[in-house]
Symmetry: C2
Subunit: 275 residues, 2 copies
């Protein structure tokens, strides 16, 4: 673990990341010793810094730290945590924050190929994802709603749980973004009031539009889910997972163009690039 560029695996008990969840994180796939989609992850981190008012780190230094932490590993998961550091008076942030950077690597999870090919089983969680436009879209450290949702099941056959907001709108999975096939269109939830704007989600939206698919970013209620022709999920470590079954409803898993799936997988974690 690199903490502000130094080897170590502990942080101050007074750090605001612990005290209030006052910080951000990014989780990146590493392939061929390089973090994938670096530029996109960096952009989101920087955007999160602006939103929270945390000074952004030097991107070149952060990238060098990522490479140091990856070392000789070919395939791994890189996690970057950035907090506002210690200090301030209660919730009031310090005037001159000294942010904390934590860079860690962990083993590549090796999700079964089956999930990507045959689709996964998902559930609807009872825990809701709160609406908060101030924090929507960014990947901040206040993740108790996701922890509460993930606590609801321990059946290893269920790979993901979808979360609704307090108005019964479908927002995302605990760790993935959601897409629906609606006839010739693809819909995905509007994340302006809650949720995390995933990196692979952003890449998918771009590529779908470039290919001429009509993509709607919109409010989606539960009824729309059941009426969808198909569903799929995305994140930086899984790429794309079709949903084969959601809360007992079965869906087609062959609706997404295999060449697009392949392209996304390649760009998401097929080979490390700093694109």
């Amino acid at each position: 673990v690199l903490i502000n560029g130094e080897s170590g695996d502990t942080i101050s008990a007074f750090d605001r990341g612990l005290q209030y969840g006052d910080g951000l994180f990014e989780t990146l796939a590493v392939t061929a010793g390089r973090p994938c989609l670096w530029q996109r992850h960096w952009n989101r981190l920087q955007h999160g810094c602006e939103r929270l008012g945390i000074p952004a780190p030097d991107p070149h230094r952060l990238y060098q730290e990522a490479l140091r932490e990856i070392g000789e590993q070919d395939r791994a998961v890189l996690k970057i945590i950035l907090t506002r550091g210690a200090g301030g008076r209660g919730y009031a942030p310090p005037l001159d924050p000294q942010p904390l950077r934590i860079v860690t690597c962990s083993p590549w999870p090796d999700y079964p190929e089956k999930a990507a090919n045959e689709g996964i089983v998902a559930r609807i969680c009872a825990a809701r994802i709160p609406r908060d436009p101030t924090l929507a879209g960014i990947k901040h450290l206040n993740r108790l709603p996701q922890v509460m949702a993930r606590r609801e099941w321990d059946d290893p056959a269920v790979a993901e749980g979808l979360m609704l907001d307090s108005e019964d709108r479908v927002i995302e999975g605990t760790m993935t973004n959601l897409f629906l096939f609606k006839g010739a269109e693809i819909w995905t939830p509007d994340l302006s009031r809650s949720g995390v704007a995933g990196i692979v989600r952003g890449l998918l939206l771009e590529r779908l539009r470039e290919r001429g698919t009509v993509v709607r970013v919109t409010d989606i209620d539960q009824a729309e889910l059941w009426q969808a022709d198909g569903l799929f999920l995305s994140n930086s470590l899984i790429g794309i997972w079709p949903v084969r079954e959601l809360a007992g409803h079965r869906f087609r898993v062959d609706l997404l163009d295999p060449s697009l799936v392949q392209e996304i997988r390649e760009r998401a974690f097929g080979h490390g690039t700093s694109e």
Copy 2:
């Protein structure tokens, strides 16, 4: 700082308290070397543990750690943080969690007497407090909404900011609970969907009812605020603050029975007891 009973001021970078805000905290006044309203704070902590599924610590051991950390200090602030510890697979908690206890003491803040006697100036924050019934009432570590709200002003003349939820209901201050005088009644926001059920709030509700005051715990919109005869705020370190001015509106500050204010202050931080 005592960390799991040992002196030290660092925690693992893998602790879920940092990674997800997966934990709870309590802030207690210390007077005459004893934590005030200990039993009530303990009850809330234990209730939070049940809600999050974190094994509760041994209360006697925690109390002994609090006394050790207080040491020779007469008047201070005691903060207890309890996290789910490290481990688990992503958001999924570990099956056998090893919670982390952090006990720290900091100097008593010495809020000016003037605030309690003449009332304070407050504002309405733009940042909203998200609705989340799963987490409502407990004092968990996901406090970014409060940080965002507290960042909105730096005028030292403004002592507190009130926060609304996404439905424009008034919930609480960034660090206080709110009460309204409505004729002969006292109203306070319903905290079943968001907010922290404060210890002094609980004490006040009991004492007001014992004295025969009609207390309504209910949904309160902004219009009700402006129509109130008076407002006051409570927390464990300030006791009770009348609101003299809110967003330019002036309010009476003499509506609360001085003997009740005195009693609450005595019990909240006048003398340390383990009541």
